[in-house]
């Protein structure tokens, strides 16, 4: 069997585990699909009550949808290896002949598909129930920007998986503490441009803000109050995606080498 075939099987195996498991737990529909969208609805209602341009409601819906993916990246990707270690399973991944990147990719694929199913509820809520509007837009451009955003976001999640494992509880708490600031700095519920230079810096660190801003520009054009010209943001997303994928590979290799040298990281009590 070729290495590619092995890694594809491993990716699908891991993704399948995540997908099947998630649809088996009905309470997740409430906690992961319904509740996160209430924040988004609150902003839509606020803009409507204030008489803000209708495009602001769309801004909030797009931000709310991307927030769902961010939660998944943070806890479903970043914290996953740490949890695997705590459950004593990590060493089984390290003993398997498939690439660790294949397993991480499986986590990402499973998490992405799962979150997409959940975010469909947000789309329904925003565009059908609340009646948020968009300008005529290019579907291929929307899908392309969305795909780039997802690659960059989940690649960042892969990097975080190694860092969480390396730093243990501290990273876990840090991530918890940073959850709201990242949401704020990514302008999930308002135009990122409002933050000025701070928005540009934040967008350069976490691709969430860039992705949200680019998607809004595709959907709303000038009404999106974009941070940077769309083509710049697309290039930045490509660069960030490639950079995070490379960093994830490097971090994993370092982590494995450290685990083998020092005899720790893969054991729950170490």
């Amino acid at each position: 069997m070729s290495t590619l075939a092995l890694n594809l099987r491993a990716t699908w195996g891991r993704a399948y585990g995540r997908l099947v498991g998630a649809f088996r737990e009905p309470t997740w529909l409430l906690t992961d699909a319904i509740l996160p969208n209430l924040g988004m609805l609150a902003f839509v209602m606020l803009y409507r009550a204030l008489g803000a341009p209708r495009s602001f409601e769309t801004l909030a819906v797009v931000g709310g949808l991307l927030a769902t993916y961010w939660i998944n990246v943070l806890w479903g990707m970043g914290a996953q290896f740490y949890w695997e270690k705590q459950s004593g399973q990590l060493q089984l991944y390290f003993v398997a002949p498939c690439s660790r990147m294949a397993i991480l990719s499986g986590m990402a694929l499973g998490g992405f598909l799962l979150t997409t199913a959940r975010s469909a509820f947000g789309l329904f809520l925003g565009f059908v129930v609340v009646g948020v509007r968009v300008e005529p837009f290019s579907l291929p451009a929307l899908l392309g920007v969305f795909a780039l955003t997802m690659v960059a976001l989940y690649a960042l999640g892969m990097v975080m998986a190694s860092l969480f494992l390396l730093w243990g509880r501290e990273a876990y708490h840090l991530s918890n503490a940073l959850y709201q600031p990242v949401q704020f700095l990514s302008g999930l519920y308002f135009p990122l441009r409002t933050l000025g230079p701070l928005g540009i810096v934040a967008a350069g660190l976490v691709p969430l803000g860039l992705g949200v801003d680019a998607l809004r520009q595709v959907l709303l054009g000038a009404g999106a109050h974009g941070l940077l010209p769309l083509r710049f943001e697309i290039v930045a997303l490509v660069v960030l995606g490639a950079l995070f994928l490379w960093l994830a590979r490097v971090a994993l290799a370092y982590l494995e080498s450290l685990a083998k040298r020092e005899g720790r990281l893969t054991q729950r009590w170490q």
């Binding site: 195996g13 399948y16 585990g17 498991g21 459950s87 004593g88 399973q89 390290f94 002949p97 720790r264």
Partner: protein
């Protein structure tokens, strides 16, 4: 000799393997393995017996590419565990006692399928193999049960099945029957024996605390303590090393109800066996050397206020060999199980 050629290379070849850990407190180093040499031929069931902290798990971790050795060389199926780690991984399976594999929300079958994919097992092969393993593990009724609804023993049986799902050349079983009930443990032992017998060239490296398990399964046994192999031979060969004299087991009751200190009795090294709380007694085991007088030992016990409830003599067991070589019984180990891999001072 081509690496990985099943006909020409040993399943495991370890030479001068050393592993030290940096001590967290007080500086210095802790030696988990100190120059181990072991050669396991293909088709063998090889036992590794030692007290907690002896270095068994460290050795298994190195052989399964989870840990670098500090010095020495280790090859599995002809491949170097450092340079050719990927080739080694394709050929091995690992089951660690007490581990929890899989995700609670998956069923037993789904979990085994997921792990089969990490080894690239094609779907048409994986399905029947998983069914057979589930049957062997006695989990047929639980095949579609979520893992988080299994008992500890059932989970351990699933872990055991997982170790064989890739049909590996070499399986490392690190305390595989830990937590299993008697019947399940017996079924697992029968499976291992059949697996090796029916598929020539397949090899098992087993570490266990259960002497009977090692006696029943292993073609050869290495006794390891403090990171060194003290003896390596077949059970019959090991037994010959300590034969001569008489193996005696006494059931004792101390006059004050406590456990008297017994470093030696009439020049005989004795070890405590399991207590019998319901009778308020405790077993004491020792080997009388040729010419040794049992009467002297009994007199000395009486002098210490100990009453003898029962006396039994028997053939040399693996436990006797172990005690003779290590100087203490497995039950008397006072270190953490995985100390070899992570001594108290390890980072």
């Amino acid at each position: 000799m081509a690496p990985g050629d099943p006909q020409n290379v040993p399943a495991v070849d370890v030479r001068g393997l050393t592993r030290t850990f940096r001590a967290a407190r007080g500086g210095g180093e802790v030696c988990a393995l100190g120059g181990v040499d072991v050669r396991i031929e293909r088709g063998e069931v090889f036992g590794l017996l030692g007290p907690n902290g002896a270095g068994k798990t460290t050795l298994i971790k190195i052989l399964t590419t989870l840990l670098y050795p500090t010095a020495g060389q280790a090859r599995v199926a002809g491949f170097d565990v450092i340079r050719d780690a990927h080739e080694v991984r394709k050929r091995i399976g690992l089951v660690s006692g007490g581990e929890s594999s899989g995700y609670g929300i998956l069923t037993v079958r789904e979990c085994l399928w997921m792990f089969s994919q990490f080894y690239g097992v094609p779907g048409k092969v994986a399905g029947p193999r998983i069914d057979a393993l589930i049957e062997t593990a006695g989990l047929a009724d639980q095949a579609r049960t979520r893992i988080n609804r299994l008992s500890t023993g059932q989970r351990q049986r699933m872990n055991f099945a997982r170790g064989f799902v890739s049909d590996p050349d070499v399986v490392f079983l690190d305390e595989p029957t830990l937590g299993m009930d008697v019947n399940a443990a017996r079924a697992m032992r029968e499976y291992v024996a059949r697996w090796v017998r029916e598929q020539p060239g397949r090899t098992v490296l087993l570490t266990t605390h259960y002497m009977r398990e090692a006696e029943e399964l292993c073609d050869r046994i290495a006794i390891i303590d403090h990171g060194r192999v003290l003896a390596c031979d077949s059970f019959a060969g090991l037994r010959r090393r300590v034969e001569g004299g008489q193996h005696v087991e006494l059931e004792l009751r101390a006059a004050d109800g406590g456990t008297p200190a017994l470093p030696s009795l009439a020049g005989v090294q004795a070890v405590w066996g399991a207590p019998h709380p319901e009778r308020g007694t405790r077993a004491l085991k020792f080997r009388l050397p040729p010419g040794g007088a049992l009467a002297d030992v009994l007199r000395e016990l009486e002098a210490r206020g100990v009453r003898i409830e029962a006396i039994a003599t028997r053939e040399t067991s693996l436990e006797d060999v172990f005690v003779a070589l290590v100087g203490r019984g497995l039950e008397e180990s006072d270190e953490h199980e995985d100390d070899g891999a992570a001594p108290s001072g390890a980072p």
